[in-house]
């Protein structure tokens, strides 16, 4: 969708106002309405789906495999697939990189350790079926939910196989599987937020039109404790890119801190509420 110069100017000006006016009347810290469901892929260890009102849709499935810890470089592997884009395109590999690196640096892989030799390796497969705006935020939310609902088979053999190697064996009862993230755990999967900059204002979850007129964009990580790295700069539109001010950074930080908490709460209640699992 191309905006006409008049549309562009109108949109830009209204977003740059103090206080800004977003085209869909959201507040700067407000997300677009979304619909989330979990555990709908029966043979995955965990899965989630989020749909936005504009039809954007993302599916994430988490599967696990037992590996020798020494043989693998990373215990989490993210794979992103965006319909309409080649897998080796810059667009897809960037999304992939962002998700992979925040999980690498902020997901405690110790929970994946089975024994002194063996670990679970988890495969996070994301599909973006349709998107209008930059889909990283959507992907991150869905990944969060999928990881929250992931369970891993329960190990029944010895945990200590330092001296004598044992082949891990697992309980055949799926009901006995343990959640990847225990309910009482202190850590949560990290999230990524996309923030657009227009004038002196910052907006969370920019829509496509907002991206078009944005002068700058940021990718900001968030975890239970607060804002975390990365704190990246990204251009969300091909035009009108301007320099970043310190003010933007501070505002974006505050914005993410503010809505991160609420988003977590909302997502956690989704993960808790739905029993999911029914395939019929």
């Amino acid at each position: 969708m191309k905006l006409s110069p008049a549309e562009r100017s109108y949109l830009h000006d209204s977003l740059a106002l103090q206080p800004p006016i977003r085209p869909d009347a959201r507040s700067p810290a407000q997300f677009r309405p979304l619909e989330a469901s979990i555990s709908f892929l029966p043979s995955s260890n965990g899965s989630a789906r989020i749909r936005l009102s504009d039809g954007s849709e993302c599916i994430v499935s988490v599967k696990s495999k037992v590996v020798l810890t020494a043989n693998v470089s990373s215990l989490i592997l993210v794979d992103v697939d965006v319909s309409g884009y080649r897998d080796d395109s810059n667009f897809v590999s960037n999304l992939n990189y962002h998700l992979q690196s925040i999980l690498n640096s902020h997901f405690p892989t110790a929970v994946l350790r089975l024994t002194s030799r063996y670990s679970f390796k988890i495969f996070v497969d994301c599909v973006v079926l349709l998107h209008t705006s930059y889909p990283l935020g959507l992907l991150s939310l869905t990944t969060y939910l999928a990881l929250k609902t992931t369970s891993l088979p329960k190990l029944v053999s010895e945990v200590n196989d330092e001296e004598v190697e044992e082949q891990p064996t697992f309980s055949d009862d799926w009901d006995q599987s343990t959640p990847l993230i225990p309910t009482n755990s202190t850590f949560q999967p990290p999230l990524l937020f996309v923030v657009a900059v227009v004038g002196d204002n910052v907006f969370i979850d920019p829509s496509r039109e907002e991206q078009e007129v944005s002068e700058n964009g940021m990718i900001i990580g968030y975890e239970t404790q607060g804002v975390i790295s990365p704190f990246n700069n990204i251009s969300l539109s091909d035009r009108e890119v301007k320099g970043m001010k310190l003010l933007h950074v501070i505002k974006a930080h505050l914005l993410v801190k503010k809505c991160g908490e609420e988003v977590l709460k909302a997502l956690n209640s989704v993960a808790k509420d739905e029993g999911g699992n029914a395939i019929f």
Binding site: S39, P42, S43, S44, N45, S64, K65, V66, Y118, T149, S151, L152, P153, K154, S157, E158, D161, V164, E165, E166, Q167, P168, T169, F170, S171, D172, D173, W174, D175, Q176, S177, P179, G275, G276, N277, A278, I279, F280
Partner: protein, 979 residues
């Protein structure tokens, strides 16, 4: 999150639910989700039921299931009319009892039980399936897992075993209610047989009539017949710990260890001279790993697939040079001997003696080279347990036991196996009988495996009992062919004829009419199953046309039929002295397929054009119709060829064959084919009484080798053609090069005793060096050496071509690059497969999928290799038995050769009768004065006359042959005594 899986009704009679579980295989863990469909129209199959006949639906063929459960089931004094429901543990432990024809009728097998049995033991599963198929025992399978009424979902934190137990109990109570509601004419109780205390208790609280096997058998009117067959229940017998075998490692640890190379998996091979010494061949080591002593063997049986762990190097030893038989170690054991220590002192002493030998000798290079790594068994992957034949040890039967069940030992015929403790009331009656026993378990606290009596074969030494015993011992299927196998035979029976209309169907059109060829067959006298026939004629161009015609068995045995499956599982016909156990039913073997003279038969022909030097110019394969002109015995054929006055075309053809076969043989020998020897003998039976009368060594006539050469040629040609057509799955036969280590010992003995050596670079070198090893003083020495060399060879084996690389296809003994078996399809299954593959290769008919599947071919090969080996052993055992019988009347003094020398005995071979026997030091002379010279393979001792004697390997000795009944195993054998 608890999986709240509910059922969803799809249509009127169909509901779907889902099962979620974790599959943990090879260390992995995968979540598996399965949809599971439930129906409401699964019939109970009771003739009493008024409802089920109306609700059931026909199967895909439009047929209805048969209602089998009787309308007047057996009535018990304390249970009324009843149907039985079996629990898994009953089937697994008491399948013999369940199969018994005197009890256990109207039995309901829940599908859950069937599946659990299949997961635990495939052989028992097949027996249970067979029971359910046959009508006389009235067994039915009820598919409770697919019935809406009896399906149970797994509950939270419920183990799968508990869930299955619950499913079985649910089936019982549903059945009881179903029968109460729908069969008002007769009230029938469901009796649930279960030996698991917990499950039984739960069943009783749920109102099910649950009983142990023993309780039920006691309630039967014919309890006396069946009581002894009830297997020992290990939970009932709380024994004092006689011994503490090390516990096996957990599966997780075994798998991990095998994977990382600290544990090794292999098949246990117990030494036939020392029952406390086993060896495991592991690919990682050149030499087999030794398992020395009871503790290290840790309850492993001969043939079990086990996991072993190496012992520290300080415990590595030489293989024992002693002969230890169980009878010697434990002759005075009694089965209730509870104070027995961990290991008997006698065992310790024997082991210590062994240990001393290896410590005393300085570790010179030679000793070091003989040291073998030792190991201990830490886990058992698969038991080789089957039925065993043996007899009760008389010393273990207490006199005053009366009718109370008492423990006694059964000594097995196989000396490599320990004795088995059984509990029986009938011990005194069973003394002196050959009996069949089954093993139930071998707990770690019990010194001996626990088993139970299955049936009696008859008196020891009666021909029937001994023959059946050896068939059982070698796992030969000798029961008559079942009905569904016989149903596959042509309906015309013996009246089947080759069709007269040769344009009848597309297959007969593809056959070539070879009835004009002058074909004849040459076989041993009185041969009934004639597999092969030959013809030869001079061609106008001076070359020869030679045809080999093989019985076209695959015309009758189509792939995928019950007949084919039976043939594949039998694998081979078994030839005993007085009996033949056929692979295929008689109708085919001796009539329809057999290339009998004067009748037209279907054949599979290989026709060559050979030049006068017997080089192949051209080869053709075809399905054909032939008419054999004559069936000769080897001798008759020889006479006919030798008689110059015979100038007819048939005889001329035979002369051509003979002449070409000589050239073929020479070529083969030039290429390095081995001429090996085995002490084969033949037992002549007195035709009137069928008592064995005399023993003779098999003779070789030129006509024997005539047939043999052309069969080899046909096999090689077919192997090439099949490998061409099916490079991945061609059925072939290979004979691996013998590893040099096998010959180490023989070569060392040759060097020390005779100053000779055999070389091993190639089969040609071996053949030549064997020819060179002549002892002018002893013309038999060369044959003796060939016999001993044969034993160092690898066994030839069947394989599918995808399993090995082309260079490994080589047949060492025949010195050809590729080989198969094609020429005896009546008596070998390999040939059947080769026929089908060749038929497909020449475009006669498409090849069945199972012969194009690598995995399936490997299974077939594994089975026929095993069957082939067993058949050979059974044949030899049969000869051994009859030789023993013949010797009863023919005790004599013969010339023998020492072929092995131990520190406490020597092994002597008597060529005249093909007998090999052990002479123990005790019977040689004074035990204490004996000196065993290991370096020189000699034993010096003072004999009974007081003179000092030395016997070394290869020495000629005079021995007395006597027929002796072994007191422990009750086996009559020709026994040798040094003169």
């Amino acid at each position: 999150m608890v999986a709240q899986v509910e059922r969803k009704r799809l249509t009127a009679g169909l509901t779907v639910t889902q099962k979620v579980f974790v599959r943990s295989r090879n260390g992995g863990a995968t979540k598996i989700v399965r949809e599971h469909y439930l129906r409401d129209d699964i019939p109970c199959l009771s003739k009493l039921c008024n409802l089920c006949p109306s609700i059931m639906k026909p199967d895909a063929k439009g047929e209805f299931q048969k209602f089998t459960l009787s309308d007047t089931p057996l009535k018990l004094a304390n249970g009324g009319h009843h149907y039985l429901v079996l629990d898994t543990n009953i089937v697994l432990h008491a399948i013999d009892l369940v199969e018994n024809v005197h009890g256990f009728f109207d039995v309901l097998v829940p599908q859950t039980v069937l599946e659990e049995v299949r997961n635990r033991s495939v052989p028992i599963y097949t027996r249970l399936r067979a029971l359910c198929k046959s009508d006389d025992k009235r067994f039915v399978v009820f598919h409770n897992e697919f019935s809406e009424d009896t399906y149970v979902a797994r509950e939270a934190n419920e183990s799968i075993n508990d869930r299955n137990d619950r499913a079985i109990r649910r089936t019982c109570s549903w059945f009881q209610k179903h029968l109460n509601d729908n069969s008002p004419q007769l009230s029938v109780n469901i009796i649930f047989l279960c030996n698991d205390n917990d499950n039984r208790a739960k069943a009783i609280t749920e109102g099910i009539d649950a009983r142990t096997l023993a309780e039920y058998v006691e309630a039967l009117p014919n309890a006396d017949e069946l009581r002894d067959l009830v297997p020992t229940d290990s939970s009932e017998l709380q024994r004092v710990n006689e011994i503490a075998y090390p516990e096996y490692y957990s599966t997780a640890r075994l798998m991990g260890g095998i994977k990382n190379g600290t544990l090794y998996q292999g098949i246990v091979n117990i030494s036939s001279y020392n029952f406390l010494e086993g060896a495991v061949n592991v690919p990682s080591f050149k030499k087999p790993l030794l398992l020395l002593g009871r503790e290290r063997l840790n309850r492993a049986f001969n043939g079990d697939s086990v996991v072993v762990e190496l012992l520290p190097k300080s415990q590595w030893r030489e293989p024992s040079s002693q002969i230890i038989e169980e009878s010697a170690v434990e002759a005075n054991d009694t089965p209730e001997d509870e104070e027995e220590l961990k290991i008997s002192d006698q065992e310790r002493r024997l082991l210590a003696q062994d240990a001393m030998v290896s410590h005393k000798t300085q570790p010179t290079d030679e000793v070091a080279s003989r040291i073998q790594p030792t190991a201990k068994v830490v886990g058992i992957i698969r038991r080789s347990w089957r039925f065993y034949v043996g007899q009760i040890a008389p010393t273990s039967v207490s006199e005053n036991s009366g009718s109370a069940p008492s423990n006694c030992f059964v000594i097995l015929m196989d000396k490599c196996l320990p004795k088995i403790r059984i509990r029986t009331r009938k011990a005194p009656e069973l003394l002196g009988k050959r009996i069949v026993v089954a093993i139930d378990s071998w707990p770690s606290t019990s010194k001996f495996p626990e088993g139970h009596f299955v049936r009696s074969l008859g008196d020891v030494e009666s021909a029937e009992a001994e023959t059946e015993a050896l068939l059982l011992e070698h796992d030969v299927e000798y029961r008559p062919f079942s009905k569904n196998v016989l149903d596959c035979l042509p309906s015309e029976g013996h009246d089947w004829k080759v069709p007269t209309d040769l344009d009848g169907d597309e297959f007969i059109k593809k056959r070539k009419d070879l009835r004009a060829k002058l074909v004849c067959s040459i076989d041993p006298p009185n041969c009934q199953d004639i597999d092969d026939a030959l013809h030869a004629q001079l061609l106008p161009n001076g070359n020869y046309e030679v045809g080999v015609h093989i019985a076209d068995v695959t015309h009758f045995v189509k792939a995928g039929t019950a007949l084919d499956a039976e043939g594949a599982s039998r694998g081979t016909s078994v030839y005993l002295v007085d009996k033949r156990i056929d692979m295929l039913p008689m109708l085919l073997g001796t009539d329809l397929c057999s290339l009998n003279p004067y009748v037209e038969r279907f054949a599979f022909s290989v026709i060559w054009e050979l030049d006068s030097d017997a080089n192949i110019v051209k080869v053709d394969f075809m399905k054909s119709i032939i008419k054999s002109r004559e069936a000769f015995s080897y001798e008759k054929a020889q006479l006919r060829i030798d008689d110059e006055s015979n100038q007819d075309d048939l005889t001329k053809g035979m002369r051509i064959l003979l002449q070409l076969s000589r050239k073929l043989k020479q070529k083969r020998l030039d290429a390095g084919a081995l001429n090996l020897a085995s002490p084969e003998v033949k037992v002549h039976m007195d035709s009137e009484t069928s008592d064995p009368a005399e023993v003779e060594i098999k003779k070789q006539l030129a006509t024997n080798s005539l047939v043999e050469e052309f069969m080899l040629l046909a096999n090689i040609s077919v192997a090439r053609k099949n490998f061409d057509a099916f490079p991945q799955t061609a059925m072939l036969r290979r004979h691996a090069n013998p590893p040099a280590t096998n010959f180490e010992n023989l070569n060392d003995m040759l060097r020390v005793r005779k100053g000779m050596a055999v070389s091993l670079e190639s089969s040609k070198a071996l053949a030549d060096s064997l020819d060179r090893c002549e002892d002018p003083a002893d013309p038999y020495f060369n044959t003796l050496l060939r016999i001993m060399a044969t034993r160092c060879m690898m066994a030839a084996e069947y394989f599918s071509s995808g399993s090995y690389g082309y260079p490994e296809f080589r047949h060492y003994g025949l010195a050809v690059d590729i080989y198969t078996h094609f020429t005896s399809p009546i008596r070998r299954y390999c040939d059947v497969v080769a026929h089908r593959q060749l038929a497909a290769a020449i475009g006669y008919e498409p090849l069945d999928l199972s012969h194009r599947d690598k995995g399936k071919m490997e299974t077939v090969c594994k089975n026929i290799n095993r069957r082939h080996r067993n058949a050979q052993f059974a044949g030899r055992a049969s000869i051994e038995y009859y030789v023993g019988q013949v010797m009863k009347n023919n005790e004599s003094t013969q010339l023998g050769y020492a072929i092995r020398v131990f520190s406490n005995g020597i092994v002597v071979l008597v060529p005249k009768f093909g007998i090999e026997g052990l002479i123990k030091l005790e019977s040689l002379g004074d035990i204490n004065s004996a000196r065993f010279d290991e370096e020189n393979y000699s034993l010096t001792f003072t004999d009974h006359t007081g003179a000092e004697r030395t016997i070394a390997v290869f020495d000629q000795v005079e021995v007395d042959i006597k027929s002796v009944l072994d007191e422990v195993t009750s086996k009559r054998k020709a026994e040798l005594f040094l003169k």
